[in-house]
Amino acid sequence: MPSVLQLVFLFFAAVTVVGALAVVLVRNLFHAALWLAVTFLSVASLFIVLNADFVGLSQVIVYVGAISVLMLFAIMLTEDVVGARGLSLRSAWPAALPVAAGVCVVLVRWFARYAWLPPQPPKPGGTAGTIGLAFIQKYLFAFELASVILLAALIGAIYLAKEERS
């Protein structure tokens, strides 16, 4: 008999899979973006169920809060895309299905058989504090480096988007 936590996990896992399938199968682009938000939310729930509260909340803030909304805005602001049809990947079905199914079967088989490392006990008080300290101490350089990457992306975005002055 699975525990309550396992049932919750299975529920969100199912929502994730259904949502991800809907993203690729729905023909309306706007609906696909909404389904993507659903997938992101249920992945965030999975993280929280697995005691990874920091990752789960970042998932909500970054993916649901920023990326999904950005995509919806981009779709709404682009002419002729809302309700556009024919963008689905139907023609790629015959090739994609066996490849995806094959990869799925292989990965599931290996994952099920593998002697995984034992999970660590959950940290009292959540993981955010530990991760935050690691970011500003041991992994300070990596953390700052991520800012440099974002800065490079920002410079590039501004260059590509700004009006040409002649």
Binding site: W110, F111, Y139, A142
Partner: protein
């Protein structure tokens, strides 16, 4: 955990000094270009050159200090040799770019700043002893490159090239992250050497998850260095991107990928890893050379040629050990000189708006401009691997390393495909020297160029010759690099041995 305030101080800043110096110089270049646009034409390239030279000084200095690994990076002699190759390449890119960006009205601070940021990412990739840091390096290398590929905003080919590179590059990055996550979950460490060592000593069950993770990381790196079958983007992106960016991409992005591959290979993965590399190398050499034969556009030809060269370079990674890695480093240096040379000539010949990029446009160019004819011939002979140029000795070292490591079959294949290469490289030379210029056939190739471009072209030709004739001192230098790589891998294993490894160290770093 000791007092938190001490943690920052114990982390050794010197290990990161070269990357920090280059990124800071990029910022200075960017700001200078924005504040004094009137002087941007000469100020930004000068600042970029100065920043690169400063970074080289920092690299040499940091290398002499003999630092322990810190902040998920290693400052060993491999890093020093590799960083200097990247910096030389970045330096040449600035010089080669100058004529191109002036002609095509692309002279902005952003151009040099993004290029330097990209180069710092390349340096990080080779300096990292940890998959997390390697990923950050990969992104720092790639994101500026996506923008640079689309830097000619007026040309739709440039935009197309940027979009293709971005979409496929993002896909490759996702592969890298997923692979790193699998490696971590299988071994309990993101440190490249520690993870490899943990599986070798069978401390953590069987290894298939580690192998799958490693294969995914290999896929991402194979995409970056354009190995068959992950090469599809290369011709389109190389053709569409501004030519000076293409040169940078062909040399620095490829070098960065091979630096990372060398680090991963030093962790000693065996079995299916060698089979994968063997297959990738063989497929890349055959397919790259085959497709290059039928190209008429010079940038596409050089793109396929760069794919073929990635196949040769992978042989060195496969051979591994001191000889193999040293040959890879030497070949990267030789490849940088001849590729930059070829692209510098292409930049001049194409003329304003990149009109003349077909090989047929080069008919009889050598008679109008002996300088272009001679230098292009030298670069093509060297790319083809004919003695006494750098390309010949580079191939010689790679092939002999592969034979010694027990891959005679692959070496025979490499020699045969090199012979195929001679055909299409010589064709360029034949068109330039032996065919009559046709009247009114398409846009005429240009031969006039500013003094700086002609100087750079001549200097690169001399470098290709010199690297060939004086190859042994250079090889000694690259040998010191490959020896450093081995020593760091051994040191990393030594550091982990006393610890009980069965408990996964969450967010395990390179330094403990």
């Amino acid at each position: 955990m000791t007092a938190p305030s001490l943690q920052i101080i114990t982390w050794n800043l010197w290990v990161s000094a070269p990357v920090c110096a280059l990124a800071a110089s990029a910022m200075v270049t960017l700001i200078a270009g924005a504040f004094w646009p009137a002087f941007a034409r000469w100020l930004t390239p000068c600042l970029a050159l100065g920043g690169i030279a400063l970074t080289a000084a920092f690299t040499i200095l940091a290398g002499m200090l003999g630092l322990p690994p810190a902040g998920m990076q290693v400052m060993d002699s491999f890093t020093v040799v590799f960083d200097l190759i990247i910096l030389i390449a970045a330096f040449i890119t600035v010089l080669v770019s100058n004529h191109y960006v002036t002609r095509e009205n692309l002279e902005r601070g952003e151009y040099y700043a993004l290029m330097m940021l990209s180069a710092s990412g390349a340096m990080l990739m080779a300096a990292s002893d940890n998959y997390v840091m390697m990923f950050l390096g990969l992104e720092l290398l790639s994101i500026p490159l996506y923008v640079l590929a689309g830097f000619s905003r007026g040309r739709s080919e440039s935009q197309e090239s940027a979009l293709k590179y971005l979409l496929l590059g993002a896909f490759a990055s996702a592969f890298f992250v997923f692979g790193a996550a699998l490696v971590f979950s299988a071994t309990g460490s993101t440190n490249i050497v520690v993870a490899g060592d943990a599986t070798e000593r069978a401390l953590v069950g069987t290894t298939p998850i580690y192998v799958i993770g490693l294969a995914m990381i290999l896929t991402a790196l194979a995409f970056k260095v354009a190995l068959v079958p992950f090469h599809m983007w290369t011709p389109d992106v190389y053709q569409g991107a501004p030519t000076s960016v293409t040169a940078f991409m062909a040399v620095v992005a490829k070098a960065a990928g091979f630096g990372a591959l060398a680090r991963v290979a030093a962790a000693g993965p065996e079995g299916s890893w060698t089979v994968l590399l063997w297959g990738l190398s063989a497929a890349t050499m055959i397919w790259g050379n085959l497709l290059a034969i039928s190209q008429n556009n010079i940038k596409r030809l050089l793109a396929y040629s760069s794919i073929a060269h990635a196949g040769y370079l992978l042989m060195g990674i496969l051979a591994g050990g001191r000889a193999g890695i040293s040959a890879v480093l030497f070949y990267l240096l030789a490849y940088a000189a001849m590729t930059f040379g070829a692209f510098a000539a292409v930049i001049i010949l194409a003329g304003r708006g990149d009109g003349a990029e077909d090989i047929e446009d080069y008919r009889g160019i050598a008679r109008r401009s002996p300088l272009l004819g001679w230098t292009m011939a030298i670069f093509m002979f060297s790319l083809a691997g004919l003695p006494p140029f750098a390309g010949f000795f580079g191939k010689l070292y790679l092939f002999s390393a592969a034979v010694e490591a027990g891959y005679p079959g692959l070496t025979v294949l490499a020699v045969l495909t090199s012979v195929m290469g001679v055909f299409y490289y010589l064709r360029v030379t034949v068109v330039m020297w032996m065919q009559e210029p046709e009247a009114e056939s398409g846009p005429a190739a240009q031969t006039s160029a500013p003094l700086l471009s002609r100087l750079v072209l001549s200097a690169l030709a001399v470098a290709v010759l010199a690297l060939g004739i004086f190859s042994s001192p250079v090889l000694r230098w690259t040998n010191s690099g490959s020896a450093g790589l081995e020593r760091s891998a051994e040191a990393a294993i030594q550091m982990t041995l006393p610890e009980p490894t069965n408990a996964p160290a969450a967010l395990s770093g390179g330094s403990r």
